[in-house]
Symmetry: C2
Subunit: 246 residues, 2 copies
């Protein structure tokens, strides 16, 4: 039995999310089915993050255990051949120690959120970014975002369905930067609560439009109440970028 | 009657191309139908370039004549509302002189061709770039590309269906640059022959893989024979970026 660590890219649009679901396609199932086609083994694929429906992966990390004797490069090539036509790609595959775990060994997770500021609808980026017609003050968004950095009770920014034991999280980075008509938010933490990135981005978008002040954001955080959330950003613009391991 | 100049973005994947066709959807028809829905007028939309099936537009220019009294901004908003669900967006709309013509007044056209160099299949970029698994030497591609810059008989790089009177064209710019796993080709000319950019990119990809030398590219140009073409790149990676007017 060999444990393989995968780096996975996927287009979240056709999926119910990362996690296997009874009622629709998932990234996990697409990879597990491909692994079965390659090895004849029914394996479980574990990921660093279980992204929601419509959320994309640029460098998701995952692992699976295979009994068949197969080299990592061959496994990667075979999975990519068998995972079609799903928009999922294995970018990297390496053998790792038996106690390496994509989720539990992960020490940092990095997300990117893409906003396109313009009046016209999106075309080739439909489902790949959040379009906002109003002017966004990215500098004000970045300044306000620093209120959220650090160790806080993020109850306000947590979905009602969040299964984490504690609402306490340490946000290591929340950077907002503009490039032309694009505003990108980068978020890093050891772990995130359910909907935390989308909820933070939604409120930052209110700040960017001048509908919320930085003080409003601080009050929302302090309220520790989901009802104090201003806005939850759509899944379209969210990308799981990278997971770090010791 | 007012003539309006449009700047148009579109995802080429679902279309038979820019030009109206009997057998499938076109960008031209999508905009003409939207204009009819807005104004009740059956108008013809003329573009700077008639892109092929699967080719994308980032800043295509087009014009149409409208009798109804309507402000440019309102026309743009109404066209964007009515062109749905087609992946077409009017980014800009201005009133122009009656003799301004998107095609005939255009003095320069700029295309971009996007290559992704990697073994794994594309996911969210499927149909939006050309994936090449082999290593590409972008510097060798750029150096060879300069052979094509200038005034030449581009018969080798011209589709058998090209309707232009002359195979002579002046290529003003053909730049190749790498950024990570991306190789982008920028091509500028007053006008291009049918399939010229894709044919040039296809041969440059051969140079990048070491299958062709710069001398092979020079010989292909000199042959003035379509049979001397090495490879025609797929439509996926081609974007009409911008048109210039005096």
């Amino acid at each position: 039995m060999t444990r393989f660590a995968l780096t996975v890219e996927y287009d979240g649009r056709p999926f119910m999310g990362w996690q296997r679901q009874d009622h629709g396609p998932s990234v996990q199932q697409a990879i597990e089915d491909a692994a079965f086609a390659v090895t004849g083994e029914r394996v479980a694929v574990h990921a660093a993050g279980r992204t929601d429906a419509g959320v994309h992966g640029l460098g998701m990390r995952a692992h699976l255990d295979i009994a068949k004797d197969i080299a990592p490069f061959r496994l990667m090539e075979a999975l990519n051949a068998r995972v079609r036509p799903h928009p999922v790609a294995i970018l990297d595959c390496v053998a790792v120690a038996d106690d390496w775990h994509a989720r539990f060994s992960c020490v940092a997770r990095h997300y990117e959120y893409r906003i396109v500021q313009r009046r016209a609808p999106l075309t080739w980026e439909r489902g790949l970014a959040w379009r906002i017609a109003a002017d966004l003050d990215a500098e004000a968004m970045h300044a306000a975002a620093q209120i959220l950095v650090g160790r806080h009770d993020f109850t306000t920014f947590r979905s009602a369905h969040c299964q984490a034991d504690s609402p306490l999280r340490t946000l290591d980075r929340l950077d907002v930067a503009r490039s032309g008509d694009r505003v990108v938010v980068l978020a890093s933490a050891r772990s995130f609560l359910h909907h935390q990135v989308r909820s933070m981005v939604g409120c930052l978008a209110l700040v960017g439009q001048g509908k919320w002040s930085a003080a409003d954001l601080r009050a929302a955080l302090g309220a520790r109440d989901r009802a104090a959330l201003g806005l939850n950003a759509p899944s379209d613009g969210l990308y799981f970028v990278r997971a770090d391991y010791p």
